[in-house]
């Protein structure tokens, strides 16, 4: 029994890092632009498929294809932003949240069905030669690909943190989160900041998609599932806090594993949703959030 517990704890942490990576883009866009892009999960899915096809058709190693899948998602993000989201940038906040949520919902529906038509409903995973190899510590099996994904997720989050804290553009983004009107007065082009954070989020979704495809699998209807994970982590971590997002992701991953071990693996999806609703009702600013996002 202790071995099973340790094993699922490990798996929970490994998947939790990906939840955090999936959520951070959602959180970034919401914090900066107040767009609630519920098609974020579909972005992630497209990133996964990009790497899957690069691997299957051209034999590109999935980890090497991460920049390509990020680039692919930047292009999709640019298209989607220019066509749809830029039109809602100037709405008042509540209306903006509502309309972007609806548009994102429709967009998710479209992307999901496009993927279904193009690539069928099959579950697909990337299986390089080293996919089955694992590191075993004290009886706990840690597959290399998932460990690598964990490390990469940490690297991405850390790099994002550095970018937001240390660079001029990053500071402009943070200023826009705090008060976009004041930021405009300080000479920041808010609409460029919007576009930039939207593209950054899309790129992060692409990277997360690749890591999901290599450690787990992708299929056309996964988008909603990952958007929900992102939203759960987002409300737990609070908006705009990368540390909070990381901790929230890990908590969600571990909570799911614990449910699978102690209750029933069929309910692992439910626990996150229950946490989500409890947090919404009891502490809407997030477990680690300090002020209303």
């Amino acid at each position: 029994m202790p071995a099973t517990v340790a094993q699922s704890l490990a798996f929970g942490i490994l998947v939790g890092a990906l939840y955090a990576l999936a959520a951070v883009g959602l959180s970034l866009v919401f914090g900066v632009t107040k767009f609630l892009n519920v098609a974020h999960g579909e972005f992630l899915m497209f990133g996964g498929y990009a790497s899957f096809w690069l691997f299957t058709l051209l034999g590109v190693d999935p980890f090497a294809s991460i920049p390509l899948s990020m680039l692919f998602l930047v292009l999709i993000g640019l298209l989607v932003y220019r066509l749809l989201f830029s039109r809602m940038a100037k709405l008042p906040t509540q209306e903006k949240i509502r309309n972007t949520l609806l548009v994102g919902f429709g967009l998710g529906l479209i992307l999901q069905n496009v993927a279904l038509r193009l690539w069928t409903a099959d579950n697909r995973g990337i299986t390089p030669s080293y996919a089955r190899e694992a590191l075993t510590i004290l009886g706990v099996r840690l597959p290399y690909v998932r460990v690598a994904s964990l490390i990469l997720a940490f690297v991405f989050l850390f790099a994002l943190q550095l970018f937001l804290r240390r660079t001029y553009t990053g500071k402009a983004i943070r200023a826009t989160v705090e008060d976009w009107e004041a930021a405009t007065l300080m000479g920041i082009d808010v609409h460029r900041v919007y576009l930039l954070s939207f593209l950054l989020a899309a790129a992060l979704a692409g990277a997360a998609g690749t890591l999901v495809a290599v450690g787990y699998s992708v299929e056309p209807t996964m988008g909603m599932h990952w958007t929900l994970k992102g939203l759960i982590v987002l409300v737990m971590g609070g908006i705009g806090s990368i540390t909070g997002t990381l901790v929230g992701g890990l908590i969600l991953g571990v909570a799911e594993s614990a449910t699978a071990v102690f209750i029933n693996s069929n309910y692992r999806q439910v626990v996150g949703l229950v946490i989500f609703i409890l947090v919404l009702l009891i502490r809407p600013q997030g477990l680690f959030g300090t002020k209303e996002g």
Partner: protein, 326 residues
């Protein structure tokens, strides 16, 4: 003025009579089935609209009410209850469940977007839980399948759809409905005028849940077999939202038009290019949200005004037209 009022009533009477006579004259089962499906979508969309349109609380988990309705009706009906109490139970179960969301959410004045995501999460919880507890296909009782009375179901579901539209219509005209719309426009201003936002939102939710549950009950009575959790799938949440927006959110007739349009587009596209209707409907939905917030109803209104303007223009231009005739 009176003539203007009589025309819609007459149209309504004729329309209902035509629908009532359909099974007598049209012997094609597929046409009747298509109409039943349309009625169910009408019920779903109209019920969604009471909360989402009138009160402005966007619910992305309507499948929870629909699914609970199917579950209640199906379980009672297959265990020997008459269909009417089974249908009533569908509505009641959905209302009871809706209170678990509604009371805390509205009491805390949860922000609109949180309510929206919360409903999505709740419907997902139900979808997964029902799939785990009842992971099997449900069938109508064997005697019902052997002697399946399609026409009976047609009339019942038509009546339910008319009832749903009737409730939505009466509500829109009533003080209560106007209060709901006031809450949508500006909650604080509505409260200042003596409208209790909490009770109005809660009542809208209860009505929406009851009628959504009833739609589920109708589906459970109509469909011979399906997986228990099928009626909880996110699609049943998505469809009423897109239908209502495409038709005209917040209006009485919008969701009805939207549902008819939805089924027609679906049929048309399925025949021609397979299951592409979801992509087409997704695009339409986005276009409506971005460019035509009033949906088809607004589009029709614009066309009508344009025609009226043209006619007026022609009235003044009549002499010159007559001159040209000669």
């Amino acid at each position: 003025m009176t003539v203007k009022k009589i025309i819609p009533v007459a149209l309504l009477v004729v329309g209902v009579m035509v629908l009532w006579l359909v099974p007598t004259f049209i012997k094609s089962d597929s046409a009747v089935n298509l109409l039943i499906l349309t009625f169910i979508y009408v019920m779903l969309a109209v019920s969604w609209n009471i909360l989402g349109g009138y009160t402005g609380q966007v619910n992305l988990g309507h499948a929870a009410f629909f699914g609970l309705g199917t579950l209640a009706t199906r379980l009672l009906y297959t265990s020997g209850f008459h269909i009417f109490p089974s249908l009533l139970a569908a509505g009641v179960v959905a209302v009871v469940f809706s209170m678990f969301i509604g009371i805390p959410a509205f009491r805390l004045r949860l922000r609109g977007d949180y309510f929206t995501i919360g409903t999505l999460a709740l419907s997902q919880i139900l979808y997964i839980t029902v799939g785990n507890v009842l992971p099997k296909i449900t069938y109508l009782p064997i005697e019902d399948i052997q002697n399946y009375q399609l026409n009976l179901r047609y009339y019942l579901i038509l009546a339910l759809a008319l009832f749903t539209i009737g409730v939505a219509y009466m509500l829109a005209k009533s003080r209560l409905g106007l209060g709901m719309m006031a809450v949508r426009e500006n909650e604080d201003a509505a409260e200042a005028l003596g409208v209790n936002a909490f009770s109005h939102k809660l009542l809208a939710l209860a009505l929406s849940a009851f009628l959504g549950g009833l739609a589920g009950g109708a589906y459970a009575y109509y469909q011979t077999s399906y997986y228990f959790n099928y009626t909880f799938t996110p699609l049943w949440s998505l469809d009423p939202v897109t239908i209502t927006f495409v038709g005209g959110v917040g209006t009485v007739i919008g969701p009805v038009i939207g549902a008819v349009f939805f089924v027609l587009v679906k049929e048309f596209l399925v025949l021609r290019m397979g299951e592409y209707h979801l992509i087409v409907f997704g695009i339409l939905f986005i276009l409506v949200v971005l460019f035509l917030p009033g949906g088809l109803v607004e589009a029709w209104e614009r066309v009508r005004q344009a025609i009226a303007r043209r006619l007026k223009y022609r009235e003044t231009a009549v002499p010159s037209l007559e001159l040209r005739k000669d």
